[in-house]
Symmetry: C2
Subunit: 233 residues, 2 copies
């Protein structure tokens, strides 16, 4: 099954955006009368029939609508410092969406080596991974945010900070097993500063461990998303 | 802490191989009298003092030896079909070693698009990830193996096959929670053939699910390794 994405959907009609229309009609050679599956990024899957194919567009009639397609019953918000090598952060984004993530907040912290991020690239990866893994809800991707704002924010559920300092920590698996709504903070290559860790604790963030291994930023972030998924299976 | 690797270690002396010696003395500018940490790939960590620095080598005296450094208390063997895009398979290898894997068997199955694999590249990634994640035991990496040989092999512990067909399956998390020694088979982009799945079941492989999401080959393989890790924490 191939999924197409559109944000131009009415009760009865779907218009595919240009790149999706091209992929549908030029690459996959779908034509008038063919049935296709379309997602809206808000949780709905549509079965639709192609009615008209133009040079740059493709218009379909809705046959059937399924709500909550590919939905999971937990909420995980990942606050992650993008890596110096952007491929690694992009790999995290792709894997997180495949496994199941609801919100990604890229952060800049004291030891961050990367302080710029091209959001349109990240959004394309999110869309592609969402279609690839059969999901209809597009995770939220925030702008690059200063860690101070994240540390001070009020989030529903439990807030966890995964750092490498030798301090008392809970296992993320245990925290995830007990909480359906969870925010997890993953630091940059040089880890959080002691000041940031202290600030987090004062603001109600729980220090967590992902296990015995020392993981790279993107590995820790993927492992955290998957830990939440496993503990909610 | 930087870790260096050597396979030339006696009771009292360590000689670093050329590339490690260069990294140690040229890049990190270590010199005679400095103390360094060395792993042997067999589970031992050494604290050593540099005694002599040559153009291409570096000889050290052993100060202290620690056995079982970074060891985990389970055994996971991953049999994975390398992806068409080799970057994705290499990413799996790196992440698996960081999280904790004991053996990797690259496989060729009916729907495999990749039937050649450069093992020296994979071995370099394994070594680098092992040092990065503070482990002293080098996972075994086998030659590219026909799936028929893997399906027929006798392995200790439980054997699991993760496929996408809608059939009765156990959750990998439950199988992993109950077994300390586990072999997991992950198929290529086009999944296993029905014949391979049937053959596996006849040979005692347990069909498992990694959860609700449809995951790419390398994501499934990383998720499987991490599931075993989480269930053994």
């Amino acid at each position: 099954m191939n999924l197409f994405y559109s944000n131009d959907i009415t009760e009865s009609q779907i218009t595919l955006p240009e790149d999706e229309a091209k992929h549908c009609t030029k690459v996959l050679r779908k034509n008038v009368g063919d049935e296709i599956h379309v997602i809206d990024g808000s949780g709905n899957l549509y079965l639709a029939r192609i009615e008209a194919v133009g040079k740059r567009d493709c218009v379909c009639t809705v046959i059937e609508k399924t709500a909550g397609f590919g939905k999971h019953d937990y909420y995980v918000r990942m606050c992650v410092a993008p890596t110096k090598n952007i491929d690694r952060f992009e790999f995290f984004v792709e894997k997180a969406v495949e496994i199941g993530v609801d919100e990604i907040i890229p952060i800049v912290s004291e030891n961050s080596e990367r302080k710029v991020l091209k959001l349109d690239r990240i959004e394309r990866i999110v869309l592609s991974a969402m279609k690839q893994s059969y999901k209809a809800t597009m995770p939220i991707v925030a702008e690059l945010t200063d860690i101070k704002d994240v540390l001070a924010a009020k989030y529903d559920g439990v807030k966890c900070i995964a750092h490498c300092e030798e301090q008392e920590k809970q296992l993320l698996r245990d925290v995830a097993a007990a909480n359906k709504t969870i925010t997890i903070l993953i630091g940059p290559e040089g880890d959080f500063s002691l000041k940031e860790i202290e600030q987090a604790k004062q603001n109600g963030w729980t220090p967590v461990s992902l296990g015995e291994s020392r993981l790279r930023t993107e590995t820790a972030a993927i492992a955290a998303v998957h830990t939440v998924n496993v503990m909610n299976q």
